[in-house]
Symmetry: C2
Subunit: 76 residues, 2 copies
C-alpha cells in the first residue's frame, strides 16, 4: 500500500495559477491544505465537459467569492 494509492501527493500539484475568473463551468473544486510535501494551500478546479484541472490562487478575491457561492448554493 503506497502513499500515492491513498491519494497522498509527494509534491505540490500546482506550478502556476489561473488569474482570470473561470466562471460557472466548474464540476468540482478541491482544497488541499498545506502539508509536509507542499507549503502552499492548493485550490484546483475541475472544469465541466473537458475535465481540465485549473489551479486557482487562494488569495484571489474572485476565488474566495466563487467558493462562498458554491457553499451557499444549498438545496432549493
Amino acid at each position: 500500500i503506497s502513499l500515492r494509492s491513498l491519494g497522498v501527493e509527494l509534491h505540490c500539484r500546482c506550478i502556476q495559477t489561473e488569474s482570470k475568473p473561470i466562471g460557472r463551468h466548474i464540476q468540482k473544486v478541491e482544497l488541499i491544505p498545506t502539508n509536509s510535501h507542499c507549503e502552499d494551500t492548493e485550490i484546483i478546479a475541475t472544469l465541466k465537459k473537458t475535465g481540465q484541472e485549473v489551479c486557482l490562487d487562494p488569495e484571489a478575491p474572485w476565488v474566495k467569492r466563487m467558493i462562498a457561492r458554491i457553499i451557499a448554493n444549498r438545496k432549493r
Copy 2:
C-alpha cells in the same frame, strides 16, 4: 469516452453528513456545486492516513470555518 471517465457523477455522492467537527486530519476537501444529477451542494473531506471520505454539511458553521481556515493558510 464515458461521462464517468470525466469524473462526472450521475447521482449525489453523499447519503448523510458528519455532524461533529473532524479536526485537522484533512488531506483535501472537495466542493461539488449543485448540478443536474444532484440538487445538493456536496462537500467531501478526505482524511489523512486512512483516505476515508467524509461528507460534510455545507450549512454547518464549523464546516464554513474549516474551509475559510484552509484558504487563509497561505504560504508562510
